[in-house]
Symmetry: C2
Subunit: 211 residues, 2 copies
DNA sequence: TAGATTGTTAATCGATTAACAATC
DNA sequence: TAGATTGTTAATCGATTAACAATC
């Protein structure tokens, strides 16, 4: 159905942004939009909009444009936001807790079903409807529950070790918040890094070099 | 001194990564490295390393390579991590608190000096050594304290309004965590977006399309 | 000096933009 | 039908990689 043979990361990283803007247009009950108008709102070119969308299929109609709600649903499917992926959180520190409490996982097609920490003080704490378990229980938990992905909110030095465990348990997708680049030891894994300090350093650079 | 006339964002976004790897090498007391070895560790090409570094100056020495500690310091300066920028946090929800508590601001050349929220329940709470103030006190606070940047951990709908206030107070740098693209109304502003949900959607795409 | 490795130019590759024929 | 706007090919632009002369 789709022609998503080898979509470049540049395109993939723009998809959530399309999804966000289309969702907003949809909420405003706007039901059609041309590539030109969408491009204006998003501060990109109409060519790029059409090129990007045509990586996945011809969603538009000549002389009319695109149906907002239809296009939004198409992108939702392309992003796989209907999969209800089961996720566990490793690390219940400040950042881990914030990730657990702050994100609207349902809207993004994820469900947080477990949380683990190796600090006794954290065990038993409640985050929304889940209770922090000891990391020793990880193996058992993952044997009895199918887990699709792990959110890593642990210090840099713990990552390698945790990754080995997770991979052995069949978990091959990682959302990594540690100040550490996960090098893909296994080609069948998927890694998304969120490097907050890199982001802040980039801001610093630009403040430092503002005209 | 530097030739940083118009460094591309691709290069800028790689700088923190160089800084991270060089810091690590430095901690391991390695004092020289060639572009080839650094490239291997970082999973990029030696050409790219040399091209990137030469945007800012000739830090290496033919036949020898680069001094790790010197290069690390150079990049630290390029990134402006010695500026001790004063920052305020707007929004003391889960994410705002985590940002305040979790980040090593000193190491990154920032100092968090204030925190504001419009929810009465948050007022008076303590985050590290700062106390959450009511947003009404923002004007006063910024008049008596020089502030360089604001970290925005507030809902999407509040952003525009807060931005107007901040800009009027002379704050022109924003680290934005809201699910909202800040469109630069003023050309003298600097914006760094952290879109956590976009990041998770990208992970979803790749899980969905993993072979 | 010989070997190693940079700085830099040139070649390649990929991504973005422009143009336009197809078509609703 | 005429006007609008897509899908797609071709042109341009920028970023990455390769090559090599300069030099420590």
């Amino acid at each position: 159905m789709s022609k998503n043979d080898s979509i470049s990361m540049s395109v993939i990283r723009r998809l959530p942004r399309y999804y966000r803007f289309l969702s907003e247009l949809n909420e405003q009950h706007i039901d059609r939009i041309s590539s030109t108008k969408l491009a204006n709102i998003m501060n990109i070119t109409a060519s790029q909009v059409r090129q990007d969308l045509n990586c996945f299929g011809g969603f538009g109609q000549q002389g009319y444009g695109y149906s907002v709600s239809q296009l939004k649903e198409e992108i939702k499917n392309i992003l796989g936001l209907n999969n209800n992926y089961k996720a566990i959180l490793i690390g219940a520190g400040n950042l881990g807790k914030a990730v657990a409490m702050h994100m609207s996982f349902e809207k993004l097609g994820f469900e947080l079903v477990g949380c683990f920490d190796n600090n006794e003080k954290k065990i038993g704490q409640q985050l929304n409807n889940i209770i922090v378990k000891h990391e020793d229980e990880l193996e058992d938990f993952c044997t009895y529950n199918h887990i699709d992905t792990a959110f890593l909110c642990i210090p840099r030095i713990c990552v390698e070790n945790v990754l080995d465990k997770l991979y052995a348990l069949g978990i091959k997708s990682y959302w990594n918040f540690s100040h550490y680049d996960i090098t893909r030891h296994h080609s069948d894994t998927v890694v998304e890094n969120v490097h907050l300090s890199d982001s802040l350093m980039t801001l610093s650079y630009r403040m430092n070099n503002a005209e």
